[in-house]
């Protein structure tokens, strides 16, 4: 396999992984800090994408669209947390799953009523074409912007969690919630802020992915499953784990879809290869997750020691 192709696929894996990270970061914090399973996390991704698309449609500015989506979705997330989700913290996981699943249905239909089934969203015209990174390697400029934005946000999130007072509180909450409360941490306000940040990250991912995928009702459900795979691999509650897990899932999926199918073609007769290759590719990340869990049942970087 030529090295240019490997490099291009690596960029694809990186881009996909970073977007998954934006989703998984919020999910892992909510799950880790609040011990709350929020299935409606994907709905925030959808709402962010719809808000972004609507603002881009009205103003014509993509930057404004992303900013507006982040603020709008962040605020919506905080309202959602302080009204509907807060009473659920004391309940068991099954009640949380049921309630947030209901929320998915409500938010899907609510979005449909306000925005319709889908909204058009295109990448800015200046980023529509490819750029030549090294001779022979053309890469879509829009995907490069996504990679850049993902890296910047990952760095910011690292600083926030590792170097600030709020980050220390978040880590304390993830490691041992009761102890953090006993030490006088205002856990209520912390939860609301964490939830708002998670929702804002969803909105970034939703708006950036909108032009590549499609802004449509139900877009959050498929990606939510992957986000859960990421945080289970990475270790629940760990931002570092979410980043590593997301990148691993991004690479495994990208190479599973391409290299694996080719390997199958080289080693098996065509009938078997064309049937088994795609089948294996589509389950590659789940096999990978099972392998990780077999070796490290707590995930790669468990937040709770």
């Amino acid at each position: 396999m030529p090295s240019v192709l490997v490099l291009e696929q690596a960029l694809n894996g990186l881009q996909f992984g970073l977007m998954l990270f934006l989703l998984a970061a919020g999910l892992t914090l909510v799950f880790g800090v609040m011990d709350m399973i929020n299935l409606a996390h994907g709905s925030l991704y959808m709402i962010g994408a719809f808000l972004g698309a609507a603002i881009v449609g009205a103003t014509g500015s993509f930057v404004l669209g992303v900013a507006g989506a982040v603020v709008g979705t962040g605020l919506f997330g905080m309202v959602l947390e302080s009204t509907l989700l807060r009473p659920l913290y004391a309940r068991d996981h099954l009640s949380q799953v049921l309630a947030t699943f209901a929320l998915i249905l409500i938010l899907n239909d609510g979005t449909r009523m306000i925005f319709g089934n889908d909204l058009p969203l295109s990448a800015p015209a200046a980023l529509a074409g490819p750029v030549e990174l090294i001779p022979g390697l053309y890469y879509p400029s829009y995907r490069l912007v996504i990679i850049g934005a993902g890296l910047v946000l990952a760095a910011l999130l690292y600083v926030l969690v590792a170097k600030t007072r709020m980050g220390a509180l978040v880590r304390a909450g993830a490691a041992n919630r009761e102890m953090a409360m006993a030490m006088g941490v205002d856990i209520r306000r912390l939860f609301t802020v964490v939830f708002g940040i998670g929702a804002g990250l969803c909105a970034v991912a939703g708006t950036l992915m909108g032009p590549l995928l499609a802004v449509q009702v139900g877009m959050g459900e498929n990606i939510l499953i992957l986000a859960f795979v990421v945080i289970v691999i990475g270790g629940i509650g760990s931002i570092r784990g979410a980043l590593v897990g997301a990148l691993l899932v991004g690479f495994v999926d990208t190479f599973g879809r391409t290299v694996m199918q080719q390997l199958f073609r080289e080693f098996f007769p065509p009938q078997i290869a064309s049937a088994a290759g795609p089948a294996v590719a589509s389950v590659a990340i789940y096999v990978f997750m099972a392998a990780v869990l077999a070796i490290k049942p707590q995930g790669l970087f468990p937040a709770r020691g």
């Binding site: 396999m1 192709l5 295109s122 529509a128 032009p211 590549l212 449509q216 879809r257 080719q262 589509s282």
Partner: protein, 396 residues
């Protein structure tokens, strides 16, 4: 004994009642059950078929073949089991004369037995899977649009004509995807240098596009219906592959709903179809103008099929003079297809699938700031049928 006599009498009376309709000379109206996918991400196709079907009825003054037409429209929600129930309801309770409407082959195949087993005609405005063209052909089934393989066979032929030697093929990993690539290979004389099956419903094709770029084919042929195709074309253009190879699509991959969704990136893309909005035959010019007037958009391929379906039924009802109970006569009239199709001339094969011309289309400006398909004047496949007709053991 008395009891037995009474039941015999009842049975006789029932038989008389059941027989009564066939004695009536002609029906006073024609009832049509229209079941299609009208909600969800794939709703655009069914909506176009319905709109065009109802437009045809409206342009006929609310009648089909001279009889007042009643069209019962319902939504299968993209679910085979729902479609099956709706068919049963339309046939058993509403007692329709014709069933039609379904978009997707898998949904139609699930619901079709409801119609065929209760002796009701199914006039397919879109789905035309290969089994029903061959060994499972049925006198009650008519495929108005095109056999599932036809566009792909036309695309392979077009690549030959352009002297394009190597192809990379891509389709979702399900039966229709595999059939479509088989159809392309049936006519293509060059070399297949790559073949990828993607996950059904996949929306990001970055990894596959990188493989295609490395394989350097002359032509990339892609069967990705609906939203998958919309995303694929956008990403193909974003990756700048357009200058390295020719992207070839089946007609529905570049139908009007896809063009409107993708936008300027569609310009110059080649695709194959049996119909194009720029056909100059009078029936088509009237259809395109009336459709634009009624709905404010350019009709898609699927709309043309819905319109033809309504007019085929209309012609048959007219030719049997409303005697809808006479199934043999209705079938003969349907098969004769005496109406002006918007695709131009066509006829039904012995398996009741169409024999017709296929054209190459390219996407260009419609002169009003939008984009639309324009067809090459010479067909790429002339009087083309399907590869399964010899397996059909139906009496003519």
């Amino acid at each position: 004994m008395a009891k037995l006599l009474r039941s015999l009498a009842l049975a006789g009376a029932a038989a008389a009642v059941a027989a009564a309709p066939s004695l009536a000379a002609a029906a006073d109206k024609v009832k049509i059950g229209f079941v299609s996918t009208l909600s969800g991400p794939s709703a655009a196709i069914g909506t176009d078929i319905r709109d065009a079907f109802l437009l045809a009825v409206k342009l006929n003054g609310g009648k089909l073949g001279g009889l007042p037409a009643e069209v019962l429209v319902s939504d299968d929600q993209f679910k085979p089991d729902v479609a099956k129930q709706l068919f049963e309801k339309n046939i058993k309770r509403d007692k329709v004369d014709f069933m039609t409407g379904v978009v997707f082959s898998n949904i139609m195949l699930a619901a079709l037995p409801e119609a065929l087993d209760s002796n009701t005609f199914y006039i397919s405005p879109n789905a035309a899977p290969s089994p029903v063209a061959g060994k499972d052909c049925n006198p009650l089934f008519f495929a108005v649009a095109w056999p599932n393989d036809a566009y792909h066979e036309a695309a392979g032929q077009y690549a030959n004509q352009r002297n394009l030697k190597s192809v990379y093929l891509m389709a979702p990993n399900y039966q229709a995807g595999k059939d479509s690539l088989a159809g392309y290979k049936r006519t293509f004389k060059g070399k297949v240098i790559g073949e990828t099956y993607t996950k059904l419903g996949q929306l990001d094709y970055a990894a596959e596009l990188a493989q295609v770029r490395a394989a350097k084919p002359d032509v990339l042929y892609v069967f990705l219906p609906g939203g998958m195709g919309i995303n694929f074309v956008k990403q193909f253009v974003g990756a700048g592959l357009g200058k390295d190879m020719t992207l070839l699509l089946p007609g529905f991959g570049a139908s009007q709903d896809v063009i409107d969704a993708v936008g300027a990136a569609m310009t110059g893309i080649f695709n194959t179809a049996h119909w194009s909005p720029d056909f100059t035959n009078p029936a088509n010019q009237k259809f395109v103008a009336e459709f634009r007037k009624e709905y404010g958009r350019t009709p898609s391929l699927f709309a043309s099929q819905g319109y033809d379906t309504a007019n085929l039924i209309s012609a048959a009802v007219r030719d049997v003079k409303g005697r809808l109970e006479d199934h043999e006569a209705v079938r003969k009239a349907l098969k004769a297809a005496r109406f002006d199709s918007v695709r131009g001339a066509f006829k039904f094969n012995t398996n009741q699938y169409p024999i017709q011309n296929y054209y190459v289309r390219t996407v260009g400006s419609d002169g009003k700031g939008g984009l639309t398909n324009k067809s090459f004047s010479e067909p790429i496949l002339k009087d083309h049928g399907d590869a399964y007709v010899q397996d059909c053991k139906m009496k003519p």
